[in-house]
Symmetry: C2
Subunit: 451 residues, 2 copies
């Protein structure tokens, strides 16, 4: 009985999959935050290298992965895809559950799939320092790892609540040679403005992005690197779904349902987009679910509109699902999902009915994660646990109906640096947050008047 | 260029390799701690199930792995073997360095290779509760995982210094449903005796073993489970080396040198014994190095004699290299290597010149580990870092001589729960301990008068 589906190295993807030509309409162009006019490549050149800008706006169906990046991918890729026999049994479901496990990367999540190419293209453009933000620390550690590989410097603004909740993610970033600053900080004008309004601000991804972008925009030697949301970031993550397509072939199966958690959209797009491509091009029917936190319900409760990607209005304005760039989500343990916006490509796929979304309270997510850890062994990251909770819902539907559906989900990372969250859950001290309606309503009033 | 050598599942070992028939003489029988006479299977039956006792004394060359255990192994096995191209380059060595990575198991080390069969054989014998000790927490978490798989209870005595240094290993053990008690504790007579002499005792593996054995010996419903040292434990770990033999074939190479860290001997034996078998049976020459901490130099400075496996003299007396069962090693971060004794089979191999040993100070080990983390990405466990330091020594010899040696080492686990140790090293606060000569001399005076 095969449990683990391992691809030989010679079946690794050699190109990234670009969903843009397979979507019913092209994505709306980003707007310059100062003028409200469409932003051209030159508007982005202050903080990104031209190769990544070209990927950001590309409509080519496939983009070759440079050989040097393919070599580094091999440190952890192909990642395993496994059948969760023991979890299926514990759930008492007739569903077949497969999971792709991205936690085998050195940083413990899918994030190095894009941090490595981003660092590589910057290095190629002569840039030796990158600034970035991080929530739970998964992205910050992934970029620290990648910049270390290419002898570059790295400056990480870490959302303050996570900085204190997850000291060892910080240590990991230090070990890989990067500098970490808790955000909001007094090192930037954006940070100082937030602190003036609320010295106790727990921070948010939106605020940390402002700080990192400000540094890159005001320093010639520094570029900015983003761990999710943007088209080129999602593009790099499509190695996940492409491997799954080949691994599903090895398993002689095909998913009826594909599930991933969603914050900015990168691990979700990584697994889902290649399956959307198969659906669009070859009519292969598949239900795709994006699982988001009830405390930050961007896809299910946000509106589809133009908005800033950050709190200080320094990033381009993009069309996406948003809760308002002023919205600071409650301090849930899934720090990587605490983002007011959504990838424009994921939002567009949602608008066209190619995917659906559901919002989950964190205790339901931890319940699923603990059951998974006790049956399959792996301890999921709090972010990934949202996907697990959705899997449980579908598996229970199958139990009711007797349907033997095939479910594939992305286990985007491990929870080795999130044990305090498990301690809280197991001791009954983890709370769910009420839907933050008033805060979202207030934030919605500040959307930019464009488009 | 292949980086990672992945075995297909159908090439996984189906039997464990037993080194006993390949050794120049049979191991000395263990002695009953009360009488000093050879201990028969019945002496061990109070704390072990008969299947494991039979494995402990077996002279069969191969012992089949039950199918249910093979299935669970597939959750993380085969583990990858990789070529460390980037580290080789950073070292400037002509040596080819391969590493087997056991950190992909759910518990993050090689330990589940034996915790799963131990739990399974106990369950089969009708036992529903296991007691054990743990140093750094790697073994305790591995046994918690395994007992959880079979719906058994688990009680873990964790060496006090590690209990406080590594709170999240504790959380991991809790998550997998086990109870953890810092050792020495007041829950056993052995623990109370130690605390009476030294209320501030940091604990040691020898003390924690006494507590766990006492519980198993005095409770009918509870058996004892050991994470290293014993013959059957080393036997289970030989899946590592057997996979390496097949993976070396895939790499079209064969090691000149095999290196692993050594505490009680289990990850070392796991990778080394199958290569000793090749040497003995087919004359394949290979140098094998056991890397131990300078603060607990059992193989390099201990004597080969009969001694107790624990501080309270509850375990059988075995012939091994020992620093004396009263010896409490300094509180180095490699908690899993803080053991006064050594596996009798590893000791016997050392006596017959089949392996050599070297002792390394912890700063040299962390220096190698940081360089490895910055080139290959993976963060090694402090225990494993001893193997890395030995690799660096051999790689530097090759650099001097121009020799293109092929080195294979066992990266027995990751350091995700040891970041505080890396913080200490990176901030310059990690100290090396002087060779604890006086403490060892004193402990040596208390060896049992037998044999």
């Amino acid at each position: 009985m095969a449990t683990k589906y391992l691809l030989p190295e010679d079946r690794l993807p050699t190109a990234w999959y670009n969903i843009v030509p397979d979507l019913p309409e092209p994505p709306a162009p980003p707007l310059n935050p100062a003028t409200g006019q469409p932003a051209g490549p030159e508007d982005l050149a202050a903080i990104f290298p031209m190769d990544l800008i070209m990927q950001e706006v590309s409509a080519e169906p496939r983009i070759d992965i440079p050989e040097e990046i393919q070599e580094i991918y091999k440190l952890w890729r192909p990642t395993p895809m496994l059948r969760a026999y023991r979890w299926e049994k514990a759930l008492g479901t007739p569903a077949k559950i497969f999971y792709k496990y991205e936690g085998v990367s050195p940083a413990g999540s899918h994030k190095p799939n894009t941090s490595v190419p981003q660092a590589w293209y910057n290095k190629k453009a002569g840039i030796n320092k990158l600034s970035t933000e991080t929530g739970a620390g998964q992205w910050g550690s992934a970029l620290a790892l990648a910049t270390q590989f290419f002898d570059m410097e790295c400056l990480v603004y870490m959302v303050k609540v996570s900085y204190h909740q997850k000291p060892y993610r910080r240590s990991m970033i230090h070990l890989w040679g990067a500098e970490v600053i808790p955000s909001p900080s007094d090192t930037t004008a954006s940070g100082r403005a937030i602190l003036a309004g609320d010295p106790e601000s727990p921070g948010s991804l939106g605020i940390a992005i402002s700080e990192a972008v400000e540094i890159a925009a005001t320093r010639d030697d520094t570029n900015y690197s983003l761990g999710s949301v943007l088209n080129h970031v999602l593009l790099h993550q499509t190695v996940i779904g492409q491997e799954c397509l080949a691994q599903m072939e090895l398993a002689d199966a095909y998913p009826d349902v594909v599930i991933a958690c969603v914050g900015g959209g990168s691990n979700f797009a990584g697994i889902a987009f290649p399956f959307i491509g198969e659906k669009v091009k070859h009519g292969k029917d598949v239900r795709i679910i994006a699982s988001e936190p009830a405390a930050c319900p961007t896809l299910t409760r946000g509106i589809y509109a133009f908005d800033y990607g950050d709190t200080a209005k320094l990033t381009p304005i993009v069309k996406m699902h948003t809760l308002g760039h002023d919205f600071v989500p409650p301090g849930i343990h899934a720090g990587g999902l605490r983002y007011h916006g959504m990838s424009p490509l994921v939002s567009l796929a949602k608008e066209h009915g190619l995917i659906e979304a559901e919002a989950l309270p964190q205790t339901e997510c931890f319940e699923a994660a603990v059951q998974f850890a006790r049956t399959e062994g792996i301890i999921p990251a709090p972010e990934s646990s949202h996907a697990l909770a959705s899997v449980v819902r579908v598996a229970n539907e199958c139990k009711e109906s007797g349907d033997e559906k095939t479910i594939l989900f992305n286990l985007s990372g491990h929870g080795h640096f999130d044990m305090a969250a498990y301690d809280a859950y197991l001791s009954g001290n983890l709370e769910d947050y009420a839907y933050p309606e008033e805060k979202i309503k207030a934030a919605m009033k500040n959307l930019p008047k464009v488009g």
